[in-house]
Amino acid sequence: MDTQSRSIPLISRGDGVVIGVAVALLLAVFITLWQPEGHGAEAVVYLNGNRWARLNLFQNQDIKVPGPLGISQLQVRDGKIRFVDSPCPTKLCVHAGWLSQGGESATCLPNHVSVQVLGDDPRFDTINF
């Protein structure tokens, strides 16, 4: 900073760097800290107790999970996920319906398939049934 000069440039090279870093920092901070509250944007599918897939709930898709009894059919639509069909006798998993809130979950026990919606501040930590 040469305070003797008559004119001070609006944006010097150094300023440019600072601005660049500032923008990057702002973006990073928004992305990491600004998760939508409660509503989950992602879900995890467990097969045989292990993480099998991590799904983006805003990417509409149909998933086939290969369990010991057969294929459990999952459906992702507009931020929600559900069991459409499963090779189990009682179909409790299908009965659980659409899951959208962080913490909501459904399980097909006989086929060892389980789905849980992730959420930073989930509406429910655990489901009683």
Binding site: M1, I8, R13, I19, E37
Partner: protein, 180 residues
Amino acid sequence: MTVTRIIQTTRDDHLIAALTALAITIHIAESALPSPLPGIKPGLANVVTLLVLCRYGWRMAAWVSLLRVLVGSILIGTFLSPTFFLSASGALASVLFLGLLHAFSKTFPKWSVGPLGLGIAAAMTHMTGQFLLAYTLFIPHSGILRLFPVLLALSTILGIVSGLLTRAVLARLNDNPALT
């Protein structure tokens, strides 16, 4: 025979004292404003710090900043209160980082950072320092983390404003050395 030492106060001393007083005044005025979290202020007093930094170097700027927070809080009556610590942490973070940039600019003149960049950096580090303290010591609630991006963005805008203001004032002072 007594030797009387006369301490000559220079014009610069006067200016710095005046600027410090100005900074303290702004600090006190800001404390009257409502804010999202206690102690989080726009930081317009930063303009003074930046001016001093650009004209008189880092050491002076650090002094002005420190005095601003100390004296300001004593006058308002918040000395050693949480508000004081928040101001102090913001000022400390800001001043330290400015020192970094200042030294950097001296070493690499081609890449020297101007008032705009300094203003942005000062404001953002000020806000970050305040927030860190608030989060770790006062409200370790994950809920307020969502506030941080917004606060940071706000502080960036204010930083731009204070940087531009500083630049304008600096140009004026440069044009009219007699103004001091």
